[in-house]
Amino acid sequence: MNSGRVVVTGLGTVNALGHNVEEFWSALIAGRSGIRTVSHFDASKLPCKVASEIVGFDPSPYMDAKEVGRTDPYVQYAVAAAKMAIKDAQLSISDAESERCGVLIGTGIGGMQNIQEQSFKLFSKGPKYISPFMIPSIICNMASGTVAIALGMRGPSFGIVSACSSGSHAIGEAYRCLQCGDADVMVAGGTEAAVQILAFSGFCSMKALSTHFNDCPEKASRPFDAQRDGFVMGEGAGVLVLETLEHAQKRGAHIYCELTGYAASCDAFHITRPEPSGRALISCFKTLLEKSKTPVDAVDYINAHGTSTHYNDLLETQAIKAVFGEHSKHLNISSIKSMLGHLLGAAGAVEAVATVKTLETGIIPPTINYEHPDPECDLNYTPNKAVKRDVEVAISDNLGFGGQNSALLFRKLGQG
């Protein structure tokens, strides 16, 4: 019998702060920044020169050399994080079970490095030199597709795309697949590898990136701080193994926590700017609490989207106040983007990994670079130093270009 309850049993990540969950988590709770001067390309002519880059990642433990050669880094990160998560979950899938296991890994942009390289080849050498691997490298469903091949999972699998909200939308939709009985196991998360000059220049043109901290990169991402001036691009992947409670218990799996809610909404307002009243984000939070039957004062922690842009941090703060009222003062809020930058389509997924670790350890990672309080952002953002708090219930929310919002609610596994 399926009770509709869903649990988290495995975690994996690759990002600038760590090439596995332990490295990532110890950097976060130490308040260490992974943001540096851009090294993937020459950013000297661009107004922003900082990013959160993966340096020295070796895909060979996760993929053979041939596969590495024919995939974009956005897929490689996903395969690495997924294999880590499966190993962490100590899960082995028999052929008979494979149809009950699925993969949903979101991305905001897809295979940016290949889009850029092949475009260059098109204009410098001509169309007949375009690689036959370009299309399979760039399409946004290929992280899910390649992970499904690598893990032999034949259940539901497709791409989830909602810009910076893709990771949490993917985890949420995977949760639904489990709840409604379409699968017993879902490998879910997000991946991105867009720190490439084409995408980077595009975000620069939008004036979305931080430009005043090029000389001190680790200060550039400062969510909720009065001097915040834009986000910092990052790359990587985060993956969770989700299972029905019954499946996890039957195999005696280690259970991190329960995923008890998912909600999604859309601003229907502007292609990039969040809607000023926060109406859709407020309804997203309210639906989340309602669906997971959680009173506002039961929530201990919000792992915020907190991009370090003026509008996002302001409107997110206002929405939290509107939903949680008096209790908003008692919440711990933090944005790990202060350390990791903004991983776009992977953001929600690595933030979910961090949120699960918070429930497990009772440690809330800080919002670093919180130095100048903004009178309009006046909640407890867990400034600068990690804090201990026995967190029973935590929310992770994300907002994507297109006005697409999503939120997840995790709680410690209760009885009954």
Binding site: K66, V68, R70, K128, P132, F133
Partner: protein
């Protein structure tokens, strides 16, 4: 005699170059790349790998084969040895 030696040297070089291209494109071990090895059956090349291999061969041996490898010719090039012979023949099937 002198001419023969130089021909042999360049034959060897084509063979080696072809094997290097195959090793690189297909991500296989050099010792797997024998003359008899079939791209599909022995070296695990799928249809996309085969397209990429032809593109790479055209790039490396552009001058020797006088332009490009036609699709019809490419269909016949199923083993390592057949490619070596094709390049040695100046881009003609034997």
């Amino acid at each position: 005699m002198a001419e023969n030696t130089s021909n042999n040297a360049s034959d060897l070089s084509i063979r080696e170059q072809v094997k290097n291209v195959i090793t690189e494109v297909l991500g296989v071990k050099p010792e797997q790349v024998t003359n008899e090895a079939s791209f599909k059956d022995d070296l695990g090349a799928d249809s996309l790998d085969q397209v990429e291999l032809v593109m790479k061969l055209e790039e490396v041996f552009k001058e020797k084969i006088n332009g490009e490898i036609s699709e019809k010719d490419a269909e016949q090039l199923t083993t390592v040895g057949s490619v070596i012979k094709y390049i040695e023949n100046g881009g003609k099937l034997a």
